[in-house]
Subunit: 360 residues, 2 copies
């Protein structure tokens, strides 16, 4: 069996011990005589899986009791519609545009009401996070929306925006569970799991109870109504059961690592190895302003497209996979999520050093 | 390792060799050094997985070239909204009510237009399929909707309704790939995969190309627009990749079994063992009129609730799992999907005979 260091932006690397357990349990989960894939979602065994997953993420994120945790489908892209359909009571919302995902979310919300783009970093290819300490938040805004960690551009809010009392909604797909958060600062905090938690096909939505109402926009599908999903505890219809089971295993793994404070420390240590090298390299340079750098996604370039392509190709041959940057940034991107071991980052930097020596 | 005979209505039994392959490939798919769960959906490896899956289901179902095959999320319940949002151009549709799922689909469609319930078998607890040879199909109906195999009540259309020229839409969740179908008779044929094909979290939609338009109802989310999904070949956003991979393995398994004609033969043989026994039993009786019996879901009762409960409990102890009937029918239900081996049905009937002797 071969294992590579997989720097994919998502779906992305998962903890090896989680995969091993899943393989071991594939034909017989916990003495049930069946795979979790074969298990009725109304069975006691599955109820225990989803209840334990919820309890563990609540513990990891210290989620207050007045928030619901929903395991849904359709990814963040479906939330782009579900959020305005459920929350745009005044049909007005403010969006801060720090990259493609916030842009797409804003465009989708425009189907349902007025969208004010109250800040943007488009002027410098989204290489920074705008100052959000005193934004022109709309008086009648139903919420202020951010994408907290931008997967493509490698930025991360280090301070949450001052929403001037408005509800904050955050897409945290690419920084989910990478460090402690104060959930009480958000109305909704949500993300697709396929970057930092589990297999694609599950989106976790953590939503304050007072935002869950029957008063949704006309034509909102039953499945896209938070109240339906909250009342049914994510079991209105058959959930993505196997994905939830893997997420649950990752939650257990995170607890074993010491929880989110320990993950933050580890993630900072991993990112520092890469950023420190980038800051002194004569060949490679990071594309994001220092103070807004993501711990999860690290884009970098040589400034020479041909050399970039050569790097990606040779890195792949050396077992360092998926380092090609997003087409809108070019160059390279190393996604170093929770499950990327420090050895993977060390191997990457060692390879970069060697490449620099050979190609400068 | 223990394996039981799992008669769950869904999620349900999968072919053991598919699960074994999935377990073997969990840490290293095909020499890539990563799990399919960890693989970018934009990678060549995943593109091959989804392309092969599509090619195989096209071959199995003999899907005409003017139909698209979409791998989506949200289950049949989300299709209940997606269908009217995309197809209700006149805002009128006809629904034939043969159980809970058709009922739910009709109720959801009422959010978007006028729904005519042109036939129903509610008068006899959905124990039969209404005569659909000459129904009052609405002149301006955008489509006629059926649930082709009712999982809860155990009925199946043996002849498709005469739609008088209107587009036929069918939910085939619980009979998907159980026998050959003539796809050209349908506008849309779709189903959640968690009964007969794979893990929950994937819904396959086979849709005639002329029905895929930009002209959808106002407020239709981008993700719920067939055109978005068709144009992106199911990769508009991250798809439920691992589920699609398992579906692909089941398609290969079905081809190895001889395809859908062979499956039909095998499914008829399996069902006959159970129905023949029910027809002569003095203790158990089937709840569905003979001519409308499903090959997949077989409900039966003793007429005595306590005895039913005793049966379910003792069957479970004997390794025959999930035989409890749906609460709206009571009694028992054996779901005997493609992956249920004939030995499982034989074991069930042997157990029923013994139970009958002991309890009559």
């Amino acid at each position: 069996m071969k294992r590579v260091y997989n720097f994919s932006a998502g779906p992305a690397v998962l903890p090896e011990e989680v995969l091993k357990e899943a393989a071991d349990e594939m034909l017989d989960y916990n003495g049930t005589g069946m795979s979790v894939m074969e298990m009725s979602h109304r069975s006691q065994s599955f109820q225990e899986i989803i209840d334990t997953a919820e309890a563990d993420i609540r513990e990891l994120m210290n989620i207050p009791d007045n928030y619901k945790v929903l395991f849904l489908q359709g990814g963040a892209s479906q939330q782009f519609a579900m959020i305005p359909m459920n929350l745009m009571k005044n049909r007005v919302a403010d969006y801060i545009i720090t990259g493609q995902w916030a842009k797409k979310a804003a465009a989708e919300a425009e189907k349902y009401g007025k969208v004010n783009r109250i800040a943007s970093s488009a002027d410098k290819t989204f290489s920074y996070i705008p100052d959000c300490s005193d934004l022109p938040v709309s008086e009648d805004a139903d919420y202020v929306y951010i994408c907290e960690n931008n997967t493509i551009y490698g930025t991360k809010y280090k301070t949450l925006p001052n929403t001037k009392g408005k509800t904050l909604i955050a897409d945290v797909s690419s920084c989910f569970l990478s460090e402690p958060v104060d959930v009480s600062k958000y109305g909704v905090i949500y993300g697709g799991v396929q970057k930092n938690i589990g297999p694609a096909g599950v989106v976790i939505v953590i939503i304050r109870e007072d935002l869950i109402t029957e008063d949704v926009l006309p034509g909102t599908p039953t499945m896209l109504t938070y109240k339906t999903q909250a009342d049914a505890k994510s079991l209105y219809n058959t959930p993505p059961a196997y994905g939830i089971y893997i997420c649950g295993k990752v939650f257990k793994w995170l607890k074993k690592q010491g929880g989110l404070a320990a993950m933050k420390e580890r993630n900072e240590k991993k990112a520092k190895i890469l950023y420190d090298y980038l800051d002194q390299s004569k060949l490679f340079k990071g594309t994001v302003v220092k103070e807004d750098r993501s711990l999860m996604n690290v884009p970098f370039v040589t400034g020479d497209e041909e050399l970039d392509a050569k790097f990606v190709k040779e890195a792949k041959a050396a077992g360092l996979e998926n380092l090609k940057g997003h087409r809108t940034v070019g160059g390279m991107r190393a996604s170093i999520y929770n499950a990327m071991p420090i050895e993977g980052v060390e191997a990457l930097v060692a390879f970069m050093k060697k490449f620099e020596e050979e190609n400068l």
